[in-house]
Amino acid sequence: MKGAHQVVIENKRLRYDFTIHRNITVIRGNSATGKTTLIGMLSLYQQDGEASGVRLSCDKACVVINSVRWQENLAVIRDSIVFIDEDDHFVKSQEFAEAIQASDNYYVIITRDRLPSLPYSVTEIYGIRVSGKYAGLKQVYNEFYRIYGNTADAEKADICVTEDSNSGYQFLKYALAEHSSEMTCVSASGKSNIPAKILALKDRHPLVFADGAAFGPEMERVDRLREQGFHLLLFLPESFEWLILKSALINEGEVSRILEQPEDFIESREYFSWERFFTDLLRRKTNRTYLHYDKAEINPAYLQDSVSSQIVAEFPEKVKKLLGIYEKK
């Protein structure tokens, strides 16, 4: 499945109106916000259609599955938005991760569990809130809101932490040295190790660079540390490859169109996370050129002044300032 899909579901008392943007959406948040009620309304509609008294509007089928024969059910569900309630333990299993990786559905999972096997985005973790009565009627209107908003709130950083030691880390290390920044750069050896790395750097002010497209499972732990006074700044672009594509080094209309509305181009069956899509796109666009891209080891061409400065230009101003990196004129 591709694209963003609006879902409106309502009965006489409740109305939910939200848009699903990519293959995995996670809903969590406080109790009694209507998460299970949403699943209940979808289940009733699935069972009896409009005769249930529930109205559903979406350009894709909306399906609820539970732990009963979930594998068999998933095997026959195609091109649908699949909703799963928080009581269903199977979403934590490796089998579930493997099953949804190869499917063309989108998944909306209600859970507070971390789900480290699923590469969901920090931007696709939502809570549900009441936004008032709908159209003046006695109908409560529920909307989704992003749980993790602005992440650039630190005023100081003295060490960079990257999730691995691949090209992004190598580039950053080079850029810091090139700009005579006093900042050092360390790898956490895996995104799931980032919270432990932050703990180990307790008296420092780390700036964490990670792929936002798959950082969802780590976000609660990092956020809890920040709430408890750990000084850290998060820079979570979709991925390092996304930054390069955005930098206009690859000056193609197609790339611009993709970056403007990625969901319209990323087929969920082919790409488990957007990070993988952007890596693939960059590889394809630079194949047989001097900028050919290798994720494991940075091509030295990216370290040339004229190239690196274009990538650095895509860093937010605040991040550049904290890193001590300034664009070369």
Binding site: R13, S31, R114, V140, L199, E220, G229
Partner: protein
């Protein structure tokens, strides 16, 4: 005291809503503690053991209470010795879990890092056998276990 095990517990009730529906007793609903928790978390009023007035859903039965409140009521009144999944509760249930654990030894499983605030409190982390008394030490333990 509150005892927390981070991760899966053998025999854990992962789906407390289902357990509640099949095991709750009328007296649990009309207890003052339940009434307070239902009012605070679900913003609903207990009319009688079998009727609750919800501002959104209208008249409901205890079966339609939120998963969080059902779990809190089980933590407070169930005497089976079962370990309930605390992650069925949102952060708005945390203060009630601490309150319930003031009067009994309460063991729960957590699969996320519930926000218990800055403290002070007494939480025994079973994985490491440490007692933590403030938010910082609780989170420091939890991030390494979830």
């Amino acid at each position: 005291m509150l005892h927390i095990y981070f991760g899966d517990v053998v025999g854990e009730v992962y789906n407390p809503s289902s357990y509640f529906i099949n095991q709750y007793e009328d007296e649990w609903i009309t207890d003052d503690l339940s009434k307070e928790m239902i009012r605070d978390v679900d913003r609903s009023d207990v009319v009688s053991a079998r009727v609750i007035d919800s501002p959104v859903l209208g008249a409901i039965t205890p079966r339609e209470l939120s998963g969080g409140v059902k779990t809190l009521i089980l933590m407070a009144f169930d005497e089976s010795g079962r370990v309930f999944n605390g992650s069925a509760c949102g952060d708005n249930c945390a203060k009630w879990i601490l309150k319930i654990a003031e009067t009994k030894e309460l063991t729960i499983a957590l699969h996320n890092i519930m926000d218990f605030g800055k403290g002070p409190f007494q939480i025994h982390v079973l994985n490491t056998d440490k007692v933590v008394t403030d938010g910082l030490s609780y989170v420091t333990e939890a991030v390494q276990l979830v």
